[in-house]
């Protein structure tokens, strides 16, 4: 019941209200119960005393009566009367004193609250006082002569014997009068005394009833008081419990929340309560009482710190709008670095948010929320990086799209090998100048071959990087005093080249996967280039089906050049492993050259009496001890020395004077010079003037020979002689 009462009371009444009620009730208890109770109790005690006193007085009138009677008898019998007089006097004195006492005003009680007599200081006799006084005065008056009697009332006479003398006679008369009066007055006094007793008893009974009532009221008030106190205690307990719960919840929140939360006072000192996350965010624990400035000092620049402090100062100003101020928060994204102590530095991005805390519409604190936004910042940066990368990839893609995938794959694999070789050369320990200089030659050969191949394939991004590398090498060659420091730019360029080759490799792999995923004619593409994942580890598979790749190449190049062509391949299954790549590369180059330079357009062929479709032949022959032969032939327009000369003149390869002196062999050899081409504008298939040069370079690599036969209007035939496989050793480009 109490609980229900408490719960119904508590919401309506605050704890303070209840306490006031209890105090009022306690006062009421004292005023209504204790004081009157005490009063009544003392009154009861007084009444009892009075009753006893009055009881004592009641004996005296009878004694007076009896003494008078006794005196009369003695007087009659001429007996001794002095005793009776003494008795009378004693009784009269006592009664007088008693009545005097009874008629005297009593001391007033402490609390003149109750309506009874004693409280007001009335005499015990109360309303009977006057009557008593009057009766007693009368009695006293009658007794007075008797009490004043002295001597002997008798005279002895021989004759008459003992007789009353004069004073005796007087006494007898006085006695008679007194007895007569006493007979009338004493019963009246008795009556008055009885009336007083009755009054006192009535008063006592009333007081007892009142006391009972007061006690009952007291009990009631005590019960209510006890109930109220228990309610109060219950409410208090409940309040304590909810306070504890609230405190626990606050602690739970502060312990669990991911943000760092703390309050700043107007001196910018951090409060004692803060979230646990703060400790891990700032890698310290001494936040309570720490000045905000100290917290920031080690992690932001001085300028940011000054701005931040100014900013919080503005927040404290009532006039500024919070939302407006927030837009200029200098701590929106702060990079914080923590030395993890393992030689590593952890970087975090923290975002500080500031909120005014108002109590009674006055700013009392600033709540600071610190969040770790590293993930967001990292993501944004990653996005930006990947966008930049994507742009670079598009550029790279545009740079490699024109290159045949097979050739590209083989080029990448070769280039990576060359890069490894370059790095291996750099890595060889060197202390002396000669050791450093010795590195240069090998480096030159390696990077030159990469540059050559890149140029051949039209991979300008790689070519330019290799070229720059070569430039550095050239400078080192000319430098007199070489040291390890001089090689640093080379290593950095090597790093750049490797990175670039890797990104090209990645792209090629992705393109290859796209080709495969395109389905349908995937078989044909699979022949062309099935490229395994991992840029640097690209391996062109299915080299055995080079003819089919060449057939496709023929169809594609012819189509792109608006020509008709068919290709016949012979003997490719007998190509030894050692020559597989060279033969393939040369065959690709030959097919391109034949279609672009050799074959005429369909109309021109008709006009020349040839079938519209040009015939290409690629024949590989095994010659036993004499090695191998690769013949590339087309039935196109052949080559005229005149046309070659003109092109060479136009491109500044020869002077007009020199042109006049050249024989046919010398003219044809121009074709194999780097950069020479007879076509005006380079296409992706020809015109960069590197194809024939590459062919010659490849042959030189293996120690082979190139010969060319052509009849204008009829055919062109290039014959490449390769030494027997076992003798071919050196694969480095010169």
């Amino acid at each position: 019941m109490n609980r229900r009462l408490a719960s119904s009371l508590v919401p309506r009444m605050t704890g303070g209200g209840l306490v006031v009620l209890v105090i009022i009730l306690a006062f009421a208890f004292v005023a209504v119960v204790l004081i009157p109770g005490l009063e009544l109790a003392s009154e009861l005690a007084d009444t009892t005393v009075s009753l006893k006193f009055v009881g004592q007085q009641q004996r005296n009138p009878a004694l007076i009566h009896a003494s008078l009677d006794s005196m009369h008898d003695h007087l009659t019998t001429r007996g001794y009367i002095q005793e009776s007089i003494d008795q009378l006097r004693d009784a009269a004195t006592k009664l007088d004193a008693g009545l005097h006492e009874m008629n005297a005003s009593r001391a007033a009680s402490w609390f003149a609250l109750s309506g009874d007599t004693s409280a007001k200081g009335e005499p015990i006799s109360g309303k009977h006082a006057a009557a008593l006084r009057e009766l007693w005065a009368k009695e006293q008056e009658s007794l007075d002569p008797i009490l004043k009697f002295k001597g002997v009332p008798y005279q002895d006479n021989e004759t008459t014997g003992t007789a009353l003398n004069e004073s005796g006679k007087q006494l007898e008369r006085d006695l008679a009068t007194s007895i007569r009066i006493t007979k009338r007055v004493i019963p009246l006094i008795d009556g008055e005394l009885n009336a007083i007793v009755t009054d006192l008893q009535t008063g006592s009974a009333r007081s007892a009833t009142e006391l009972r009532l007061v006690m009952l009221t007291g009990l009631l008030i005590a019960i209510v008081l006890a109930a109220l106190v228990s309610i109060l205690m219950l409410a208090r307990q409940r309040q304590d419990a909810s306070l504890r719960q609230a405190r626990q919840q606050t602690a739970d929140i502060l312990r669990t929340v991911k943000d760092g939360l703390f309050l700043l006072d107007e001196n910018l000192i951090i409060g004692a309560s803060y979230s646990s996350a703060l400790e891990s965010l700032f890698q310290r624990t001494d936040f309570a009482g720490l000045p905000f400035e100290t917290l920031l000092k080690d992690i932001v620049s001085e300028k940011t710190l000054a701005t931040a402090l100014k900013f919080i100062g503005v927040l404290w100003s009532e006039r500024t709008k919070e939302n407006l101020v927030k837009t200029i928060n200098p701590l929106g994204e702060i990079e914080v670095n923590f030395d993890s102590g393992q030689g590593k530095i952890a970087t975090r991005y923290l975002q500080f948010d500031f909120h005014r805390v108002r109590v009674d519409n006055k700013i009392t604190h600033v709540l600071v929320a610190v969040a770790d936004v590293s993930a967001r910042v990292d993501l944004a940066r990653e996005l930006q990086t990947s966008q930049t990368q994507a742009q670079a990839q598009v550029d790279t893609l545009l740079g490699i799209l024109h290159v045949d995938p097979t050739q590209l794959a083989s080029f990448l694999s070769d280039s990576n090998a060359a890069m490894k070789m370059i790095n291996a050369v750099l890595r060889e320990p060197a202390r002396e100048e000669s050791a450093f200089r010795k590195k240069l030659d090998t480096l030159f050969r390696q990077v030159h071959s990469v540059k050559g191949e890149a140029a051949a394939l039209g991979l300008s991004s790689i070519e330019s990087r290799a070229h720059s590398f070569e430039d550095d090498l050239k400078n080192l060659r000319e430098k007199s005093d070489l040291s390890g420091n001089d090689f640093l730019p080379l290593v950095i360029k090597l790093d750049d080249l490797l990175t670039h080759l890797q990104s090209v490799g990645d792209l090629v792999s992705r393109l290859a996967r796209l080709h495969v995923a395109a389905g349908g004619d995937s078989d044909a593409h699979a022949d062309t280039a099935v490229i395994e994942r991992g840029g640097s580890e690209i391996i062109a598979k299915n080299e055995g089906s080079v003819p089919s790749m060449l057939q496709q190449l023929t169809a594609r190049v012819a189509n792109e050049n608006n020509k008709e062509a068919s290709l016949q391949c012979l003997g490719f299954d007998t190509v030894p492993d050692q020559y597989r790549r060279i033969v393939k590369d040369i065959a690709v180059q030959a097919v391109r050259n034949s279609i672009v330079h050799g074959l005429e357009s369909a109309n021109d062929r008709l006009g020349a009496g040839k079938p519209t479709q040009g015939q290409l032949k690629l024949i590989f022959q095994e010659l036993g001890d004499a090695g191998y032969k690769l013949i590339a032939e087309d039935d196109g327009q052949g080559m005229s020395t005149e046309k070659i000369k003109q092109a060479a003149l136009r491109k500044g390869f020869i002077t007009p004077e020199k042109a006049a002196t050249l024989d046919a062999k010398q003219v044809f050899s121009l074709l194999f010079q780097p950069g020479f081409s007879t076509v005006e504008n380079a296409t992706k298939d020809a015109g960069r003037g590197v194809g024939m040069n590459l062919m010659a370079g490849l042959m030189q690599q293996v120690g082979g020979k190139v010969s060319l036969a052509t009849v204008p209007g009829k055919f062109t035939r290039i014959t490449l002689s390769l030494p027997p496989a076992k003798r071919a050793g050196n694969t480095e480009a010169a």
Partner: protein, 148 residues
């Protein structure tokens, strides 16, 4: 080139140390790349972590022999393990000081950490590192720069 300047700063920090503390300059071998993420280490390595404009580690690693001779050149007779560790830490500290001077706030550099005897613990955060051989007298040490 920005990268080149950075690496030069680290190299200078290293060679300066030999120059000033041993009055005998160290020479630089031909630098090379390590692409497998394992540039290797000698017995004593002083590592500093770098973040900011670039992130990664730079470490100087040297064999005991070289460091012992270096200590002796510095008139130090106590060639205990502790002293050698202090020395390698000091080299790393000089490198970091040099970098701080040259790059200022662009680089945030950690306190050097010394790793001794436990070559496995010397690791790089990226697969590609620049390795610069540091030759002094007959000894060889390495400066490894692995920054992204």
């Amino acid at each position: 080139m920005f990268k080149e300047a950075e690496i030069r700063t680290f190299i200078e920090g290293t060679t300066n140390y030999f120059e000033t503390s041993a009055q005998q300059s160290a020479t630089v071998g031909s630098p090379y790349l390590v692409t497998d993420g394992n540039p290797g280490a000698y017995e004593y390595t002083g590592v500093i972590g770098v973040t900011g404009a670039r992130k990664g580690v730079v470490y100087f690693t040297a064999p005991r022999g070289m460091l012992t001779v270096l200590l002796m050149r510095m008139q130090e007779t106590d060639t205990s393990d502790e002293n050698i560790k202090d020395l390698v830490g000091e080299v790393a500290n000089t490198i970091s000081g040099n970098a701080r001077r040259d790059f200022g706030k662009n680089f945030v550099i950690s306190v050097p950490v010394v790793i001794a005897h436990d070559l496995e613990k010397v690791t790089t955060p990226h697969s590609r590192s620049f390795v610069i051989p540091i030759n002094w007298r007959t000894h060889s040490a390495k400066l490894v720069v692995c920054l992204e």
